[in-house]
C-alpha cells in the first residue's frame, strides 16, 4: 500500500474498528487506537527513511482522480517540510492516545473523534490538491466541537469590570462556550480560506486544484494577489492563533481534555501556519512579498503580547495556552522574514513547539488529575511527590524559553537570525524580548508549582506519574532533547524544501545566495 495513504488511513481505519467494537471493550478500544496511531507514527518514520534527501523535492507522489471534470484529485506527496510535520503528528497522536488512558466517560466516541481528526491532519500535510486539502482541513477542525463540548472541563472565569453584565450571559470558561467559540472562529477562518482557494483555482483556469500543476498555468495579477493573500493569511492564521483572532485558543485549550489540547495546540495550530506558508506564500509570491511587513508586525505583536498575557494568567492551562499564542507568533515571524533561516526556523518551530506544548498539556493533565486544581497560586512544593513530572515540566519550560540543547532553541534562534537578515532587521528584537518574558513566566510558574514548602493538608494522595502515564511525557521529553542536540535529523529535510519554495517566492534561487559560510 502507498505509504502516505497508509499514514492517513490508519487512524481512520482504527476509528472504524472502534465503532464496531462493543461498548464495554475498554482495553480493546485503547489497543486499537494506539495501534492505529502507532502505524501512522511508524509510517511517518518509514517515510523519512525512504525519502531521498539528496534529491529533495516532492516524492512518493500518488494521484487518483476523483472528479476529473472539476480537476479534483486525491494527490499526495511529501517534501522536506511535511516529513517533519508528519513525524510531529505521529508523535503527538501516539502520545495523546496514551495520555487519554484515563478517559472513562463515552471513551469509544472519544477515541473515534480523536482518530478521525488526526486522519484529517495527516491528510492536510500530504495533500497537493487544494480541494482535498480543504476537506481534510475541515475534518481536522470540526470534531473539536464535540471533543471539547462533551469531554471538556468547566471552569468559570471570573468576570469583572463594566462589561460583566453582558459577558455573564456568555458563560465564559464553560466548555460549551469554549467549543462554540473555537468552532465559530475557525469556521470564519475557513470561509476566508475557501475564498482564497477558489481564487487560486479560477486563476488557473478552473482546470485543476493541484498546487503543483496550478503553479505552471496560473495567471494571477499582482492586484488580485494583493487581496487573495490576506484572505488566506487571516483564514489559516486564525487557526495559527493570529492576533487578534487568537482568543479561541486560551478558552478552547483550557476547556479541552488533555489529548485534545495536545493535538490542538501541538498539531492543529501548525495546520494554520503551514497553510499560510505553503498555500498563501508559496502560491502567491507577490502577495506574500507585499504583505510581509504586515505579517511580520502582527507576528511580533503575537510574540510579545502572547507572552505578557501568559504572564498575567493564574490558571496553569491558560498560561500554557497563551504561551502557544506567543510561540506561534515566532512561526509567523519566521515565515514573514522570507529568508532561508527564517523559514527553516518557522518550520522547525512548528515541530519544536508541537512537541513542547504537547508535553505541557500532558503534564498539566497529570497534575490536574492528581491535585484537582489548575490554580498555580494554590500549588507549591509538588516536586516532593512528583519529581519525575517536575523534571519533564522544567524541560518543557527550558525549551519554551529557548535554552540551547532543546529543540526550542534551534527554532527560535533560526527565526531571530532570519529576522535580522530580512528586510526588517528590527523584527529580531520583539522575538528576543518574547523569549526573555517567556523565561520570566515559565520559571516563575515552575517555582510556584514545584518548589517551595509543600502545603500540608491541602492535597491528598499526590503522586508521581505511574505506568502508562510515563509513555507520553517521556517520549516527548526525549524528542525535545534529541532534536535540540541533533536538529539535523529534521532540519536537513526542512532546509531542502525551504530552498525550493523560497526560491519561488523571492523569484531567484536562494540556494546559491551568499559566499560559502564556514570553510
Amino acid at each position: 500500500m502507498h505509504l502516505l495513504t497508509l499514514i492517513v488511513l490508519a487512524p481512520f481505519i482504527a476509528a472504524m474498528v472502534i465503532i464496531a467494537l462493543p461498548d464495554r471493550a475498554r482495553a480493546a478500544t485503547r489497543l486499537v487506537a494506539i495501534t492505529g496511531a502507532g502505524v501512522s507514527l511508524a509510517g511517518a518514520i518509514a517515510t523519512i527513511l525512504q525519502y531521498d534527501l539528496a534529491r529533495g523535492g516532492l516524492q512518493m507522489q500518488k494521484v487518483v482522480p476523483l472528479v476529473p471534470s472539476l480537476g479534483i484529485s486525491y494527490a499526495v506527496a511529501v517534501d522536506g517540510w511535511s516529513l517533519s510535520l508528519l513525524l510531529l503528528t505521529g508523535i503527538i497522536l501516539f502520545a495523546g492516545c496514551w495520555a487519554s488512558w484515563t478517559v472513562k466517560d463515552r471513551d469509544r466516541d472519544f477515541y473515534v473523534l480523536l482518530l478521525v481528526l488526526s486522519a484529517g491532519v495527516f491528510g492536510v500535510f500530504v495533500s497537493l490538491d487544494m480541494f482535498v486539502f480543504f476537506l481534510f482541513y475541515e475534518i481536522a477542525v470540526l470534531p473539536m466541537y464535540l471533543l471539547i463540548g462533551i469531554w471538556g472541563s468547566t471552569k468559570k472565569v471570573e468576570i469583572q469590570g463594566p462589561l460583566a453584565p453582558f459577558l455573564k450571559r456568555l458563560d465564559i470558561g464553560g466548555r460549551e462556550y469554549a467549543a462554540m467559540k473555537l468552532t465559530l472562529m475557525l469556521l470564519m477562518g475557513s470561509a476566508f480560506i475557501l475564498v482564497g482557494i477558489l481564487a487560486l483555482y479560477m486563476a488557473g483556469g478552473g482546470k485543476t486544484f493541484n498546487m503543483e500543476l496550478l503553479r505552471g498555468n496560473m495567471v494571477m495579477s499582482r492586484d488580485t494577489q494583493l487581496w487573495v493573500f490576506p484572505a488566506l493569511w487571516v483564514g489559516f492564521g486564525t487557526l495559527a492563533g493570529l492576533f487578534p483572532f487568537h482568543t479561541w485558543s486560551p478558552d478552547g485549550h483550557a476547556a479541552a481534555p488533555t489529548a485534545v489540547s495536545m493535538l490542538h495546540a501541538g498539531v492543529l495550530m501548525k495546520l494554520g501556519a503551514f497553510g499560510v506558508i505553503r498555500v498563501g506564500m508559496v502560491m502567491l509570491p507577490e502577495g506574500a512579498q507585499a504583505w510581509a511587513l504586515v505579517v511580520g508586525i502582527v507576528a511580533s505583536i503575537n510574540v510579545v503580547y502572547g507572552a505578557f498575557s501568559a504572564m498575567s494568567q493564574k490558571d496553569l492551562k491558560y498560561i500554557i495556552a497563551y504561551s502557544s499564542v506567543s510561540h506561534m507568533g515566532v512561526v509567523m515571524l519566521g515565515a514573514a522574514t522570507l529568508t532561508v533561516s527564517g523559514w527553516n526556523g518557522a518550520v522547525f518551530q512548528m515541530f519544536a513547539h508541537g512537541i513542547m506544548t504537547g508535553a505541557f498539556f500532558a503534564l498539566v493533565g497529570l497534575i490536574y488529575e492528581k491535585s484537582h486544581t489548575r490554580d498555580v497560586a494554590s500549588m507549591g512544593g509538588f516536586a516532593k511527590f512528583m519529581p519525575g513530572i517536575s523534571v519533564v515540566f522544567t524541560l518543557g519550560c527550558l525549551s519554551s524559553l529557548g535554552l540551547p540543547g532543546t529543540a526550542g532553541f534551534v527554532a527560535e534562534f533560526l527565526v531571530f537570525l532570519g529576522a535580522y537578515k530580512s528586510a526588517h532587521g528590527w523584527w529580531m528584537l520583539p522575538g528576543i524580548l518574547g523569549a526573555f518574558i517567556t523565561a520570566i513566566y515559565v520559571l516563575k510558574a515552575t517555582r510556584q508549582i514545584f518548589w517551595g514548602p509543600f502545603p500540608e493538608g491541602r492535597f491528598e494522595h499526590l503522586e508521581d506519574a505511574r505506568g502508562t502515564e510515563w509513555v507520553a511525557i517521556s517520549m516527548l521529553a526525549v524528542c525535545l532533547v534529541l532534536f535540540g542536540f541533533w536538529p539535523n535529523l529534521a532540519l536537513t529535510g526542512v532546509d531542502k524544501a525551504t530552498v525550493e519554495y523560497l526560491s519561488r517566492v523571492v523569484g531567484t534561487s536562494v540556494a546559491a545566495a551568499g559566499p560559502a559560510l564556514v570553510p
Binding site: T247, L403, A439, G452, A511
Partner: protein, 608 residues
Amino acid sequence: MKSQALLLLVVVLPALCAGVTGLIPYVRRRGMLAGTLSSLTVLATLVMSLVLLGRANGGEKVIVNVQWMPEAGKTLAEFGLRLDGISAPMLVVVSLVAAMVQIYSLSYLHEEPSESLGRYFTWHSLFVFSMQALVVSTNLMQLFGAWELVGLCSYLLIGYWWAKPSAGKAAVKAFWVNKFGDAAFLIAIILFHAQYKTWDIDALENQVRVTPPGALVVLLLFMGVMSKSAQFPLHVWLPDAMEGPTPVSALLHAATMVAAGVYLLVRFFPVFAANADALTVIMYIGIFTALFAALTATVQTDVKKVLAYSTCSQLGYMVAAVGAGGKLAAYFHLTTHAFFKALLFLAAGSIIHGVHSNELPAMGGLWKKMKLTTVLFGIGVLAIAGIPGFSGFFSKDLVLEQLEHHTVVWVVGLLTAGLTAYYMGKAFVLAFAGEARSDGAAHAHESGLLMTGPMVLLAVLAVVAGFFANPFARLTHLAEPGFHLTTTGILALVLALGGLGAAWLFHGPRAKDPAAVPGFLAPVDALVKAGLVDRFYEWSYRVVMLGLAKIIGWVDRYLVDGVMNLFGWVALEGGAALRVVQTGRAPDYVFAVVVGLVALMAWGYVGG
C-alpha cells in the same frame, strides 16, 4: 589515544555519567554510588585533560568540526572540538576543581537524603559536560550554547534545596539575570553572523583585522560576560546564589562558571581588541566592579557573602585587565583565582560544617578546634591578598601592571588590593582568632579526610601556581613571558600588608567589639543595607513587568476578546428578541401573512 578521541571523551564522558546517574533509578536512589561514579568520571577527565595539556604544551593543535545546523544546503552552525594553548589549561582547571569539589561533597553532604544526592551529582556531571563543551568550543555559537547550559546547571544547583523559598528565589533570579545578559549575547551573535558570515574563532580573528566590529556589537557581547561573570550592574544574582550548597559555590560561583565570561574575553580577545572604545568601556566596568564589590565585601557578616563579593571583585580585576589589553594577566589570574577561591570556599564550607552557621560574628576561636582548616583558609587569604610566595601575588601583580597606563584605573586597582586584604583578613580573624562567640563555635570540630584532602591539594596549587607564570605564558602564546618586580608590585604589597594590619587592628582579639563595622566604613554599610541595585530590579519586575502583564491580560480578556464576545452577545440577544415573534400559535402566523400580503399589495400599488 589520539587527541581528538581524548577531547571528545573529556566532553562526552561527564554527559554519559549524568545520563547514568540521572536516568537509571537504581543509581539515582543511591546517592553515594552516584557520587562515586561521578567523582571517578571527573577524575578520569582530569587525567585526560592533563595528557592533553602536555600535548598542547608540546605545540599540538587540534580542531574538529561537525555540522550542527544547515542553511541553504551549506553549514550554518557547527559543533566542534578545539585543543590549543588556551583551551588546554582551562580543561585542567575545570576538571581539577570539579573533581576536588565532588569528592569533598561526598563527605560534606553525607547527611542529605540519598535520592537528593543522586540528583545533586547528576547536575554536577551535567555541569562538567557543559563547561568542557564551552572550553573546547571552536566557535561563538557553540560557546553560547554551552554558556547557557552552564547557566542552567547553576540554576539547578542553586535550587538544590528547592523546598527553601529563598533558594528557589535565588535560583530563578540567577536564571533571569543571566537570561537578560544572554539576550544581548544572542543579538551580538546574530549581528556577528550578519557581518562576518562566520562564528569560527580563527575565521573571525582574520576578518576583524580587515573590518573591525562596531562598539555596539562588541558591548552587546560583553553584556553576556557581565551577567555570567557578575559585573556591575548585572552582579546581583551572585551573592544570592550562595543559597546553594557550599561546594557548588566553590565550583560554579567562584572557580569555573563565573570565570566563563573572562574565558570568553580571552578566547575571543582579537574580536574585543578590534574595537578600542569598547575595550575601554570594558576596562572601566571591570575596575568599578572590583572596587564596588570589594567595598561591599568589607561590611558583610556572612562568610559566604564575603567570598561571593570577593569573587565579583576579583572577576572585575580580570575584566579590567582584558580591557587594558592584558589577556595573559586576566587568564593567569583566572587560573590562580580558581585554585585559591575554591580553596577558600571549601574551607568556609568546612567551618560551616563545624559551626553550623554562616555568620562570622557567631564564630571566633576556631583555631583551637580546627587547626588544619585554619591553616588552609589562611593560605587562601594570603594568596588572595597577594603576599609574595603565594600565587595571588604573581597574578594580581600582572593584572595591576597592565593597568599602569591608566592612572585612575591603576589607583583604584591598588586601593582594591588593600581592601581585599582587609576584608579577607577580617573574615579570617573573626572566624579563627579570639574566643568562641557562640555555642556552635565552641563545639566546632575538624572535618574528615574526604573534605580536608581536596582542600590540601588546592592549597598546594594556591601556593605554587604562581611560579608557573612563564610556562603559562609560553603555553598560551598570549604575551611575552617575563616576571619582574616593579613599583606597582611593591605598592600593592604595602597596601595588602596594611589591609591585613587594619583587619587585625579593628577585628583582632584585642579589639573592643571585633564584629562591629569600623567607623570609616559606616557610609558603605548604610549604602549596602539600602540595597539600591536590588531594589531597582525588584521595581522593574514587580511594577513594570507584572504591571504590563496585568494591563495586557485585561486588554485581551475584555477588549480583544470583548469584540468577539460582542458578536456572540448580539447573536444571543438578537435571537432572544426575535424569539418573541415565534409564538407557535397558528393565528399569529396567519395574521402575519395577511399583513405581509396587504403591505406588498400596497407597495405594488403605490410604487407601480
